[in-house]
Amino acid sequence: MKKLYRLFWWFLYTTGAVVVQQLIPGVDALMPGFLLALQENRPRQLMLLFVVFTLVQEGAGSLGFGTAMLSYAGAALLFRMSHGFFVEDNIVFISMLSACLGLYHCLLIRLMCAIQTIPVDYELLVKESLIQTLAIPLIWVPAHLARPKNAAATP
């Protein structure tokens, strides 16, 4: 029953995030959910969300396959590298992580566009990276509060 509820929660989150992405072009509203899953540390849940979120972003985006995968893998790496130093379900930690992810997004898109010889609108890219930096904590807070309290895996 709990499993089913968790699945339903993630279904609702993904639906809401897709709607947010429609309203704010260029924003990854699924990323705060992925950070929540990293905090909960359930390997199967994390892997499922990684696959679903990657497919959604890759399928709806306009770059060749690989950018969303690198984006979520980079987020996981940054999270693992830094979570030992901070309290991981703290808004300050999430804000710092989102700043790093905003910068990472900017560099990643630039790299992938260079590989695929796609011209980049740098002004728009920087603007959207900044919006992304602000959006992550703003989405993470309500999602974190709405998450069931016993959702985190027991060590």
């Binding site: 260029g26 924003v27 497919l55 959604v56 890759e58 709806a60 306009s62 396959f65 690989g66």
Partner: protein, 264 residues
């Protein structure tokens, strides 16, 4: 993995047919609901303000009558242009309408794109021309069964063979980082002038000939010796797109517009 996918396209196909489809399934009902709510709200507001609206409309009608009398010359010119262009392509090629459900969706929407609620099961495959009654909008970039992503005419990566309708100057139209269009490979001695309409030449095989694309705004000597530097503006307002038409390949299906009756 990246180079393997670039060669085979398997992962792109999987992502298109799953991820893009999920987005379509989520957004189509949301947009439908939004349209209904907006329609209901408009109706409600119209009811509330009906008296004031009537008075305003009467005043507008009087003003419009006066404007219509003054604009007879413009109307005649418009009729001539319509006769000239006629959007014959819409009579020749079957077309189907699609609703725009998102614009530049997600963090990887680097290209100027939008998402529509029709996919390859409806006939929207990669390369399918996308137009409105005003002119060219773009072409389908990728498609899932019921959803598709459209590359806009204004994207720097978009290319389309065009011809000007008066001097018959050919060129290749491309988007740019700014909002204008650029017409490449226009010969230095071409007689193209600002104000000329650019229409599809049909040379690329996907777009039928004669669909309006844009209007020439500037003609300058180019940096290269061989070609002129020509700028244009698109006819379609890309920021206000709600519905578009997708042109199918020629088939036995009935066209969107009935063929004009021939005299006699």
């Amino acid at each position: 993995m990246f180079t393997w996918n670039a060669r085979t396209g398997y992962l792109d196909t999987i992502a298109e047919r799953s991820g893009l489809e999920i987005v379509g399934y989520v957004l189509s009902p949301v947009v439908w609901l939004w349209d209904r709510c907006a329609g209901w709200w408009d109706s409600y507001l119209a009811l509330v303000d009906v008296a004031a609206e009537n008075a305003r409309l009467r005043a507008e009608l009087e003003q419009s009558r006066a404007s219509a009398l003054l604009a007879s010359e413009d109307r005649a010119e418009l009729q001539r242009l319509r006769d000239l262009l006629g959007l014959e392509a819409l009579r020749e090629r079957p077309a189907f309408a699609a609703r725009v459900i998102a614009k530049r969706f997600g963090p990887q929407a680097v290209l100027k794109t939008f998402t529509v609620n029709k996919g390859f099961l409806n006939g929207a495959t990669a390369g399918t021309p996308v137009v409105t009654r005003t002119g060219v909008v773009g072409r389908v970039l990728r498609a899932s069964p019921h959803t598709a992503t459209v590359l806009m005419l204004t994207d720097p990566g978009f290319r389309l063979a065009v011809i000007s309708n008066e001097s018959r100057t050919p060129g290749i139209i491309t988007g740019s980082a700014e909002r204008r269009l650029e017409v490449a490979y226009v010969a230095q001695n071409a007689r193209i002038a600002p104000g000329e309409m650019l229409i599809t030449s049909g040379a690329d095989g996907s777009f039928p000939k004669g669909i309006p694309v844009g209007v020439v705004t500037q003609v300058m000597p180019g940096n290269e010796i061989l070609f002129l530097q020509v700028h244009a503006r698109p006819l379609v307002d890309m920021d206000r797109l709600e519905e578009v038409l997708l042109l199918k390949e020629k088939s036995d299906a009935p066209p969107l517009l009935p063929p004009e009756s021939t005299p006699g």
